[in-house]
Symmetry: C2
Amino acid sequence: MESLAIQCQGPIVRISELSRTSGVPTATIKYYLRERLLHEGRLTSATQAQYDGTHVARLRLIRALLGPAGLSVVKARQVLDAVDDAEAPSNELLGIAHGTLVDPADPDRDLSRAEQILHRWGWRVSPEDRDGRAALQDALEGIDAAGFDLPEEVLDGYARAMLDVATTEIDHLPTESPAAAVRYVVLGTVLNEPLLLALRRLAEQHVSTLRFGAG
Amino acid sequence: MESLAIQCQGPIVRISELSRTSGVPTATIKYYLRERLLHEGRLTSATQAQYDGTHVARLRLIRALLGPAGLSVVKARQVLDAVDDAEAPSNELLGIAHGTLVDPADPDRDLSRAEQILHRWGWRVSPEDRDGRAALQDALEGIDAAGFDLPEEVLDGYARAMLDVATTEIDHLPTESPAAAVRYVVLGTVLNEPLLLALRRLAEQHVSTLRFGAG
């Protein structure tokens, strides 16, 4: 945040300066403008626009969504629109965050397998969220299709662990402003997935080392 | 498993029959053969090969790796080679499984940030596994780059949850044969990621409903 505050002193007049300040090539900035990921600068003449610190911050966010989070331009625009439009922290926010990341479920699909599992755990998930149920069922069917046997204890263990993850996340929801909460929920869903998967793999190695020795 | 046993009674003579039994189009089967994902059938004449139940099982696995697990053909071949070649369950297996999924780390990269975090948690990860450390550091740097603030308590909470996940997984390592253990470790790493992420999102909704109401 400090570095951003320094960078944002005074307006950044030209796109070449925005490029130098942000480290993003001019051609890439123009592409983000065309794709409506980045908001337009204020026109100061027919050929020149003026950019400021909000553009620098937005460029950092765009780069993170397209890079580490691995989103497509279309998905990144959906996430950014959700961050821009949402007004208050609520349960709906999760729907927005998740909706940008999950493929829409076939309306005719039978999701009773996912439903039964959620019921068994007592998880309260909005009945309208068919996409989330479909994602669960897709994952389970993919495991079945591979001929891979997932013990029920492992599935239940996953559920307990993810409940701990979600509780930790919601416990740390920023309360200073609705915008901060929105940002945390939407971006945290997208940006923290690579972190969780990296940690799982390192944890597997740690547990395996404890169990089988250093090999 | 039952359906596979039924399907595998007797040899499946022609590729068209293999296609019908497996539900995979003939052109796709030929593509998998060319890409060495699927092993060749036994040649019975210059133009005809004989396929069997091992081909049906392998096709299911290929479809799962390329579909739900979302691997490229190159990555899927690496995973399948690891499953085929590995002889015993060991710590190295995790390296094989993870190596197919993580981009190789730059040999000159400073990974001290990841190192410090692993040290703080007391996680024992092979010093040679630079790729796993790089994946952790990449994820953290992506979060930083987005200007997203990840509280240390959330990071530690993620670590505890992933340790629980890993412990559950290693607890259920099949012991009936080395091949079964290899299969479990390698495929479980790849196939269960979509499941974990789907569960995280549903758990977020459950905790959010408990905390904020049904909205």
